[in-house]
Symmetry: C2
């Protein structure tokens, strides 16, 4: 049934109809689990078999798509499955976090060829940060014996609200000094290759949707719990960014109205009670109070991080476990609200803190069962990120590929 | 730029392309402020002038569309503006609330011909409630000297999560006894005319978007503050309902974790601290405590309603004003969270309680300025519903019209 959706009718008219059909074919080839045949493409798009054959042959000839070697065995003729040609070029995904950076290089079919995770400090001046990104990027290319020309697209994720058209961030709470800084432009100037900049949680949603826990979900929330807390929103099958690119900034919803001071200047924000800083601060307090915990063995109290707390918790440390579970409770309250608001089919919890797994997930699930409306709670599944720390960097690869393909079908 | 949005490509393929173009024309004719000409239709849709002329002439011949009598005076030739033919049939919009019912009859161009608002008790058995709806509907037809056949579509709004395909509600917190009750089926059996059932807040968003404060907005939240509290979500130009139709159920997000008991069984829900019941209860308490208020003049304390509080507040009663402002503060906290999450261009506050206007809106705006992220707060406008109590019933008319037009272009 059609809704009032005038503005949404635009996509088909932006492209020539033929390019549009080509683009839909590519998305179906890329993201249909188990692959797709020409016949199935024709059925799903509603074009004739011969129209699809023309489009597909065109893409096979240009080296964009190829026939997969093995289709599934069925009764009768085995359908020829199509796949994206992995050797069409390399893609790079970079997830810039507050304290760590992940960089992936994949082939054109998103198979990972190289991966690093390095400490990173986003509070340094942006120019210095991008210099480090450049260094890691060039190391990766050297390692793989690639030249800049081998890279067809680069996706960058950042932990703040992104202004899509500008490739900048706008008033980012945990990226002081980055407001309006020309991230995309400066990286493009360095590399002369297509660069896209997106919010890290949004890329997490995209990564988990394309390659992780959320395959085929139409309504997916990805909650990134790291130093900051953000949500990526996949609604009715599309990434939703809001009027100015800051949708999903759940780190700053009020959980305890007279709670601790947050980096954003308010009190009792979710991030201030359940984010990486909050977890580290609570652990430091526990050590200072002389509570019995393995964390007391860490050399200087003020250097205890959320990661230390998570690994102590995994080793059975009770104090660390309590801190993580309390963070889970607070996250649960926020996620229960999100579930009431968005009524998603799946919530994926990712980011550094989420790597602790069930210890965090258990209280979240429990609070959600208590606090979400029945009609929403009964349809939602809550899982940890299947891609682990890779969700956002894989999402950055997907976004880079998207942009490359948009360009290719128009050429 | 294309996103991963496979499922969204489906609308064009559901319709034959020609019907699809026809439907887009109709939406543009209906919802372009100031009207639209053939030339402008061609430009916006990206079809040739002659293709548009064929489509439009077809619709003029069949009596769906007509040429408006006066286009704007411009230099050169005056463009002929198109409009929907108002005499093509009547539409009915019914907004079933917890304590009141609104019913509108409009012509095909949505001009209101008849309107009533009556007390209503949704806690009565559904069959009795629908009998009342039927009575009001038949009175309206009698009043206008219409027969059932003159009505081409009926839209019904209900204050609960709607299962779209079934025309039922699912686990509705303030509609006990209505779970799975076949609302659409029973009304269709009574009237034998096309009936659509939608959530009331969703219809509020649609009504304000089409005819009210939110014209042309792509990202609009409509907050209905009545006995219950719900949000209607217009995201990227489309109504968003979630995985099972309960998106926007903000009445049950936790505001005060150890707050008062809510109808849903939890504690401290938004509805329990700022909804119509909460406002009435606080007023009753104030009277019992002997505070100086005009509300003490109401015959029996337990019959004081939110409406009484709102009208006392408008007459300058300090106690009533404090109660409304405190509700505004709590709503502000919830709306600030919504703004962080959805990053809308506009928030429209409607429903019975909102009719008190600035007294409620002032604290909301203030809390939002304090608590929303700068990047989201700077783009959002917060207004009261332009259609007043009519937002949802006008939305029901829009939805009825939508359904009729979907049908008509396929015939």
């Amino acid at each position: 049934m059609l809704e009032v959706q005038i503005r949404l009718y635009s996509p088909p008219f932006d492209f020539a109809l033929r390019n549009y059909h080509k683009r839909v074919c590519l998305d179906l080839i890329l993201f249909t689990p188990g692959g797709i045949s020409r016949a199935e493409l024709a059925r799903q798009i509603g074009l004739t078999r011969s129209a699809i054959t023309t489009i597909v042959n065109d893409m096979v000839e240009s080296g964009l798509v190829r026939e997969a070697e093995d289709g599934p065995v069925t009764i009768g003729r085995r359908p020829v499955l199509l796949e994206i040609n992995p050797s069409r070029g390399y893609l790079v995904g970079v997830d810039i976090g507050a304290t760590h950076l992940c960089l992936l290089v994949t082939d054109f079919a998103s198979h990972v060829k190289y991966e690093i995770e390095k400490p990173f400090d986003i509070s340094l001046p942006p120019a210095m940060c991008l210099e480090q990104v450049d260094q890691h990027f060039r190391n990766a290319l050297a390692e793989l014996h690639l030249s800049l020309e081998d890279v067809v697209g680069i996706g960058i994720g950042v932990p703040g609200p992104v202004v899509q058209d500008e490739g900048t961030v706008s008033y980012p709470p945990i990226m002081p000094g980055w407001d309006q800084y020309p991230i995309r432009k400066n990286l493009f100037n360095l590399w002369q290759r297509p660069v896209t900049v997106n919010n890290d949680a949004e890329l997490g949603a995209l990564g988990e949707w394309a390659h992780g826990a959320g395959r085929g979900e139409r309504n997916l929330l990805y909650i990134k719990v790291g130093t900051g807390i953000g949500a990526g929103l996949l609604l009715d099958g599309r990434i939703y960014r809001g009027a100015s690119g800051s949708a999903g900034e759940i780190g700053h919803i009020t959980i305890i109205s007279d709670g601790p001071l947050c980096t954003c200047g308010n009190y009792g924000c979710l991030e201030a009670v359940a984010g990486g800083y909050a977890i580290a601060r609570q652990a430091q307090e526990a050590v200072r109070l002389g509570r019995r915990t393995q964390l007391a063995a860490i050399e200087s109290v003020e250097r205890i991080t959320a990661r230390d707390v998570a690994s102590a918790a995994r080793r059975g440390d009770l104090v660390a476990q309590q801190i993580i579970m309390e963070a889970g409770n607070q996250l649960g309250i926020a996620i229960a609200s999100l579930i009431n608001m968005f009524n998603p089919g799946m919530v994926v919890v990712g980011g550094g803190v989420a790597q602790v797994g069930d210890l965090l997930l258990q209280p979240i699930r429990q609070v959600v069962q208590q606090r979400s409306l029945h009609s929403a709670a009964q349809v939602v599944r809550i899982n940890t990120a299947l891609l682990g720390r890779r969700s956002s960097s894989m999402g950055a690869v997907v976004q880079a590929l998207n942009t490359v393909l948009d360009q290719l079908v128009q050429d």
